[in-house]
């Protein structure tokens, strides 16, 4: 079955985005999220420490419990820091949504396969992010492969009591490059912190 388009999957989220929500994005999702428009509560995590977006979002969610924090992560990033799923559920912030945009490759470095890419693994040893998340203590766990299913379910998924874990099976984008910081990162960090305080 063909996977959904990353851009279309993000458009669904963008159409539902509330003005007080934080959206933290990294890698391919950050590159495409920026193209959909900007909000003072967008945090484009570029440059990043690969693998740390969920941890960064956890900190934001704990500091700002009255607002939802949505993290758009990649599958390669998730593989780099699976332990953070355990860190998240130890404190279990109800306002955190972690979405893994799973294209099953390292897209921004040229679409190399990861250790979890199905085609390079023994056929009886697939990697299942949702089972991992459940095993780490997430109870709200979802996976979507078709855009129609994601579009239909997204409002309810975003309304659940978190922490919520979502996998979106997306196609890699040919030629997808590393996301560029839309402004000096230090300036963006200061502006983001100020926006959080203004709208608190």
């Amino acid at each position: 079955m063909p996977r959904m388009s990353l851009v279309e999957s993000l458009q669904v989220l963008h159409s539902l985005r509330q003005p007080d929500q934080v959206v933290l994005s990294t890698m391919a999702a950050a590159r495409e999220w920026m193209k959909l428009g900007t909000s003072p509560l967008d945090f484009i995590y570029a440059p990043s420490a690969m693998g740390e977006a969920p941890a960064l979002g956890l900190g934001m969610a704990l500091a700002q419990p009255a607002r939802q924090v949505i993290v758009l992560n990649g599958d390669g990033c998730m593989l780099m820091n699976l332990g953070t799923l355990v860190t998240i559920t130890a404190v279990a912030p109800a306002n955190l949504v972690l979405i893994v945009c799973d294209n099953s490759v390292y897209e921004v470095t040229g679409r190399q396969q990861t250790a979890a890419t199905e085609s390079i693994r023994p056929p009886d040893r697939p990697v299942d992010f949702c089972r991992i998340a459940r095993g780490c203590g997430f109870s709200a766990v979802h996976e979507f492969e078709r855009i129609a299913d994601w579009r239909q379910a997204a409002p309810a998924v975003l309304s659940e009591r978190g922490p919520t874990f979502v996998v979106l099976k997306v196609e890699p984008i040919p030629g997808g490059e590393v996301p560029k910081s839309p402004a000096p990162p230090m300036d963006r960090a200061r502006a983001f912190a100020a926006a959080l305080q203004r709208s608190a």
Binding site: E52, G59, M60, N81, A193
Partner: protein
């Protein structure tokens, strides 16, 4: 070096809201006091790189976090530290256990590389190597916060 209640009292006086930590055998002795402190949240991470990113998120969100890890975790978490402090300019403060610092005879490469590592990052640190220096930790934190720069209190570990 210090008791848990002593550390908690200092951190409360400094207005720390969250301790993001992965303990070693010295820092770990503070667990009970840290976890019981009413005004502090203790966030347990699985690997030290998470600690810097969580602290960054907390600080951007208006909280006042402290990273508390061993020097081996400092070595492990370089990319996360680099990104938070040097890419995004978030002035985080850390309490770092300095393994074997007081055991000069110990053949421990963790001791060899800790201070050179902090110097290579350009992090302003204070060596806390006696119980009388607890006030230096607080003073260094306050100075770093006032100047909006990152800092480290390096807690010497080993037999005294």
């Amino acid at each position: 070096m210090f008791t848990g209640p002593q550390i908690v009292s200092e951190l409360q006086n400094l207005g720390i809201t969250h301790v993001v930590w992965l303990p070693d055998s010295t820092l770990g002795q503070w667990e009970e006091a840290l976890s019981k402190a009413s005004s502090l949240s203790l966030i347990r991470v699985c690997r030290e790189g998470e600690a810097w990113a969580i602290a960054m998120g907390l600080q951007l969100g208006g909280a006042r976090p402290l990273v508390m890890i061993q020097c081996t975790g400092l070595f492990d978490s370089g990319d996360s530290l680099r990104n938070a402090i040097f890419d995004f300019g978030v002035p985080l403060f850390a309490v770092i256990g300095y393994r074997s610092a007081l055991n000069k005879a110990a053949n421990d490469s963790a001791r060899t590389f800790t201070e050179p590592n902090l110097k290579s990052w350009g992090l302003d640190y204070r060596l806390i190597d006696s119980p009388e220096k607890l006030a230096e930790l607080a003073a260094h934190y306050a100075a770093c916060r006032q100047a909006q720069r990152p800092g480290v209190a390096l807690i010497a570990e080993g037999k005294m």
